[in-house]
Symmetry: D2
Subunit: 194 residues, 4 copies
């Protein structure tokens, strides 16, 4: 079994629903145990994070960056950073905001930087961009054309019904990809040079 | 009169058409002289760049960054950087790619970094994001929800007919904004402390 | 008089001391009123922020991004974003961390993105990089070679005595630059096209 | 055997010497074949790139981004991007510039974005930051405190003798880390879900 943890903050439920899609995708890969951890429970459930083969970070994009709640989690990880606890685990990330672009790239760069400070290895979305030609559709996988992680566009005046079905499928694809990578990465222990 | 220069690279004509929209927007502000310079002519027309109150940089996003042709222009500016020739001018930027997101943010961060290395002052798009709620439309101004510059989405299999009219209007808005700022900035000379 | 506000979070006192250096630099420009606001007081002192001609944002870099405390302030500004309250104000930013690089660039990009979402105009550091040649010294201005804002390197095991005097002088230079720009920008009101 | 390719541009020899240090580090891991490819030879040696288990990208930082020569290579990879040729390979990156910070982070973010557009998996530096406390020294490993890749500081007025020995050792550490990861990743083929 390989262990995948999805740790996320959700302010209004959109990112929660998307985190569940990521978890669903990861669970689709046989031999994968998936834990879904809201950042508010991260401290209490630190053992699950420490036991993970892969950690997938999720935050809404607020004012062009991760939410304050996610930032609190980020700062809390500094002890693990000092001890190298998460070193060589796999990592990935996702975010959502109301706009199509909305500076979501910044949020993903932040999540990726956090992971790489921990010495983790970053698995991107790995899904070709959709909805970028005249025959494209809002229902194409990766309709936003993200690469370093998964991005969703959630209408500002709606709940999760305002998120395209394609975004949920894209987030499932991220979960699958990380779980596949975790299975592969997990099989052979990393032997580091002295 | 204040002088605004739009310096850009266009691979297939999309960015050229968008650069023209920026120029059109800038010309709409009385008292503004606008020069449109393809990067291939930058060296020959360096005097126009040096005389500008504001320089607006434009590049397509290729593989998540500025095009090689724009990068050559960027590297060429290093002599001006050394001499501080463009110090305290205003700057802004725009980009286009086939995807809605497509890592265009990286390109704008690059353009902005180039400008700030030169000691320029960065004027963002300043247009509230559109198309981010249930009543939104692809014809909303700033339909992509960009902030640090203007972004356009151009279908991969089409020419400029594959760019939404709203994107052209958004790029005009960037031109207007920079020209207004240039007029204001130009009026009072900057006296730097010794 | 032009109004400059320095709004910052400091975890252990380093960023506070640096914020004071920025304020000192701004005060050196005649006709400048400077208010120093810790993020914890931002809500109570919102009127000072709203009256500013320029706002300078400061945060330590924790795990490659702004601190949770600063992020809380960032999220709080979303009401002002919706109302456009800070539109067309000048902005700038600074950060500190223990490492020379330490992913501080990410923090400055975040601060800059926040400002540009608000429709503010970004004033960079505007100081040529020092300490980058064989005759260079740790006492050169801008010894870290930052451009989009001011960066300080503060030893992890020391208080403010672990920050080079050159960093304090660099932060003063940022304050001066923003105050000069505010005076100039303040003099001519921006008339936006209808 | 696992195959590691280091593909780089060097303007004045600094990045070349650093690329050789990366290659030396990778070769120190038994069972690793290492090819060093200047970007000018990339097209002719495309078969070596396509056969790699890991590709390490290197560029100097010019004006806050990758050099024009590296950008030309980047744009050239778009055919491979379309075909998914480099999908699931490992990737890493390095850069050098005269300043300690010098916006090198932007260059690494660009290299990382390029890799993730290709569907590659990004291996960071994985070396704790040095030279960030009162007992630190310029000879500490990772003296600049980079995380997403390796960074070197090369004095502007010197050749490779102006680069600290610690930077060369840091770049060797990057090569070792990628080669170890490639060996591990190479051992178990990735089986992607249909």
């Amino acid at each position: 079994m390989s262990n995948v943890v999805v740790v996320y903050h959700s302010g209004f439920g959109h990112t929660q629903a998307l985190a569940e899609a990521v978890a669903k995708g990861a669970r689709a890969i046989p031999g994968t145990n998936v834990n879904l951890i809201p950042v508010a429970e991260a401290e209490a459930r630190a053992a699950e994070l420490d036991a993970a083969d892969a950690i997938i970070f999720g935050s809404p994009t607020y004012m062009g960056g991760v939410s304050a709640e996610f930032a609190r989690f980020k700062d809390w990880t500094s002890k693990r950073w000092m001890d190298g606890t998460w070193r060589n685990k796999l990592a990935a990330g996702f975010t959502a905001s109301a706009s199509w672009n909305g500076d979501k790239q910044n949020t993903l760069v932040q999540l990726m930087t956090l992971a790489l400070q921990h010495g983790m290895v970053w698995v991107g979305l790995g899904v070709a961009p959709g909805f970028n030609h005249s025959k494209g559709s809002v229902e194409d996988l990766n309709r936003l054309g993200a690469s370093i992680g998964a991005m969703a566009q959630a209408n500002a005046d709606q709940g999760i019904e305002g998120i395209a079905a394609s975004d949920f499928r894209t987030f499932e694809a991220l979960g699958r990809r990380v779980a596949e990578a975790a299975r592969r990465w997990h099989t052979v222990p990393l032997v580091e040079a002295a």
